[in-house]
């Protein structure tokens, strides 16, 4: 074999050098493909490109999606100050300068003599203080999307770049674009991930606000179950409960306006202030008045919260509550196997009207009764447009369940079925409080010993309020009182109270219409004699009347005053759909 000619030998050398460069670039490509940090990728790529291309400087310009301009992202081979200046001062429009042209045309450019090329943008040279002789610009494309332009300036050992250099750079840039795209995607992903981590942290902090289950020794006289499902990681629903001195249970259920982190922070504030105030002031009306003022004074971004605070006397089953714009609660009455909507006299949500005086309302639970508290997410889960239908559904569910047995799971199952896999739009909270009372255990100890407790000792009377019928009502009240073993005096007082209560219904609920119907039921137990007046008129809470002013006596005010002095407890339940129930009880000696 004859030795290769000088010509061939040179070609071979060049070919080897090119191969070395190419493999070097491919190697870099492999590395950058595995790196997801955007800055890291660029620094690595540009350093290697400069080395392999034997160039004086190179840079990457990225297309800003906002301005549609090319901005220097990174330069290699310039002094730090120059690098900084390029980044801050030079922005190329699409089509401006060689890089701009490459970007606009999406084609590679080889400029052998910069000074002779009309596309050449001289400002950069003025800024860097160097002279560009020859340069190449290659668009960075990823799946047909323009990311930016890579630029290589001045070969160190020859006057100008050639076609071979350009091909090399193009091969290289194809990989760079993909790597850049990946890195960008990764960065967006990281940002999202970080946000998600913060939300998860917020969510777990929020969960830590929710009270632990109240069970164990000494808490057998009630059961409490709660579930809260936020629509997002963090929600605006809240609930809280804890025992207060004197065997009283405080329960709060609320719904903060809005969702997300802002609502969650507001919720945290509401709960901590509530905890403080309820221990300080105890009574629902006083607590909610103070909480409202505090929230209204420091209200931010128009945030407010609907809430209802229940204070339950666990020994007697007496409940006082104050509702601040919250959805009605359902009262499942074990003995009467009925469900009532408790919606007595709600005020505005907390945090809106500073100085508002909320109302205190009362009801008396019987052993086995439960209160189902909820937020409007539950109502809306059955259809935003028709809350009445949702309530009907809930009432049916409660009615079909055994009194005293928790219904929460049943409700959740039905809710889940109703949503059919779709996510709830609003946070959803349910809390069920069942009061078993102490008499339940008594009942178990002496089965059948107290026939009065079996609920059969009830006298019902459906009557108009005509004068003659009122005499009948009084007569019945008197007899029931005597049957209950009351003294003559007590029976008289009881009769008076029943009469006055009827008068109140006539005056306030029926506007004086004596033909309307009133249902009276007397319940006799060994402990007490109770009478319930069920009317179907406008709501009227006797508690809302001020004490009578003897100087300016109005008959109505005196009547309520008499009822209060005669009876031991008074409770009133107003329902838009089922009428109003006033319940009076007199303890038996």
């Amino acid at each position: 074999m004859s030795p290769p000619s000088a010509e061939t030998a040179r070609e071979l050398r060049e070919l080897r050098a090119r191969c070395a460069k190419l493999s070097s670039l491919i190697e870099v490509g492999a590395i950058i493909s595995s790196t997801l940090d955007l800055e890291e990728v660029l620094r690595l790529v540009m350093a290697k490109a400069k080395e392999v291309m034997e160039a004086e400087a190179c840079s990457v310009l990225l297309l800003s999606e906002e301005s549609n301009q090319l901005e220097f992202e990174l330069t290699v081979g310039n002094e730090a100050q120059v690098d900084q200046d390029l980044k801050e001062k030079i922005r190329l429009e699409m089509g401006q300068g060689v890089a701009g042209w490459a970007a606009k045309e999406r084609r590679s450019v080889l400029v052998a003599d910069a000074a002779a090329d009309e596309r050449w943008f001289a400002s950069a040279d003025q800024l860097t203080g160097s002279t560009t002789r020859s340069l190449m610009a290659v668009p960075l494309l990823s799946k047909d999307r323009l990311i930016g332009v890579a630029e290589v300036i001045n070969p160190r050992f020859k006057p100008a770049f050639d076609q071979g250099d350009l091909e090399l750079l193009e091969t290289f840039c194809a990989q760079v674009a993909v790597a850049l795209d990946n890195a960008r995607f990764h960065q967006a992903f990281l940002t999202q991930q970080r946000l998600k981590e913060q939300l998860t942290a917020a969510s777990s902090i929020q969960r830590s606000f929710l009270p632990p289950p109240l069970t164990g020794e000494g808490n057998q006289d009630f059961s409490l179950e709660a579930v809260s499902v936020p629509a997002q990681e963090v929600g605006g629903d809240l609930y809280d409960y804890f025992l207060l001195p004197g065997r009283r249970l405080a329960v709060l259920v609320g719904d903060v306006s809005g969702k997300g982190v802002g609502a969650a922070l507001f919720m945290a504030r509401v709960v901590s202030e509530f905890r403080y105030l309820s221990r300080l002031l105890v009574e629902p009306r006083a607590v909610m008045n103070r909480l409202n003022n505090s929230l209204a004074q420091g209200a931010q971004h128009g945030m407010f919260v609907t809430a209802v605070y229940w204070l339950v006397d666990l020994e007697q089953g007496l409940v006082s509550y104050t509702n601040c714009g919250h959805v009605p609660t359902l009262w499942h009455r074990a003995r009467r196997s009925g469900v009532e909507l408790v919606d007595s006299r709600s005020g505005p949500p907390l945090g809106i009207v500073e100085g508002y005086d909320y109302r205190a309302a009362h009801l008396e639970m019987e052993p086995g009764d439960s209160l189902l508290m909820l937020t409007d997410g539950v109502i809306e889960a059955w259809g935003r447009k028709d809350p009445a239908r949702s309530y009907d559904r809930l009432i049916k569910l409660l009615r079909s369940s055994q009194p005293g047995r928790p219904t929460l799971n049943k409700i959740l199952e039905e809710l889940a079925a109703n949503l059919e896999g779709a996510e709830a739009k609003d946070d959803l909270t349910l809390l069920e409080l069942t009061w078993t009372g102490l008499s339940k255990s008594k009942e178990k100890e002496e089965p059948g010993a107290d026939p009065i407790l079996n609920g059969s000792d009830t006298v019902e009377l459906d009557t108009s309020l005509r004068p003659r019928m009122m005499r009948v009502v009084r007569d019945v009240a008197d007899r029931v009182g005597r049957l209950a073993g009351m003294s003559r005096e007590d029976a008289n007082a009881f009769k008076l109270a029943v009469d006055e209560a009827c008068t109140n219904v006539l005056r306030h609920a029926y506007g004086g219409d004596v033909t309307r119907r009133l249902r009276l039921s007397f319940h006799l137990s060994s402990r007490e004699l109770a009478v319930e007046l069920h009317d179907f008129g406008l709501g009227f809470d006797p508690e809302s009347l001020p004490p009578p002013d003897i100087e300016n006596l109005r008959p109505g005010g005196l009547g309520v005053y008499l009822i209060k002095s005669v009876m031991d407890t008074i409770s009133y339940v107003h329902s838009e759909t089922e009428g109003n129930t006033l319940k009076l009880t007199k303890r038996l000696a």
């Binding site: 003659r468 009122m470 005499r471 008076l496 003897i550």
Partner: protein, 111 residues
């Protein structure tokens, strides 16, 4: 059933005797009678209640109104013969000290 109200005047007083149940429906009749008698500027009016088996708050309010008007005019309103149930209401309403209450009509007239 309406109230049975009788008026008896003597040198000592105007006696209004009431019989029946004084409730929301019958108290307006008592109110009317009291007004009519008070117009005659009596010095002493005794409301005799021994045959009233029942009275509610509207009855009490009617008597309070009579008491106030007569006292203003310089006269005296006395209640007599209250049975236990009726006396009880005045006690509940803390009005037993506001009225002059006598067990029997005779005592009310003698005083």
């Amino acid at each position: 059933m309406s109230l049975d109200i009788q008026i008896e005047k003597s040198d000592l007083a105007t006696v209004i005797s009431v019989r029946g149940e004084v409730d929301l429906y019958s108290s307006p009749a008592l109110r009317q009678e009291l007004k009519r008698q008070l117009k005659k500027k009596p010095e002493v009016v005794v409301v005799e209640l021994s045959r009233v088996e029942y009275m509610d708050s509207s009855g009490v309010a009617t008597l309070v109104e009579g008491l106030k008007n007569l006292t203003k005019a310089g006269g005296r309103l006395k209640l007599a013969g209250l049975n236990q149930a009726v006396a009880q209401i005045f006690k509940f309403a803390h009005l037993d000290k506001v009225f002059d209450i006598y067990d029997h009509l005779e005592e009310a007239l003698q005083e």
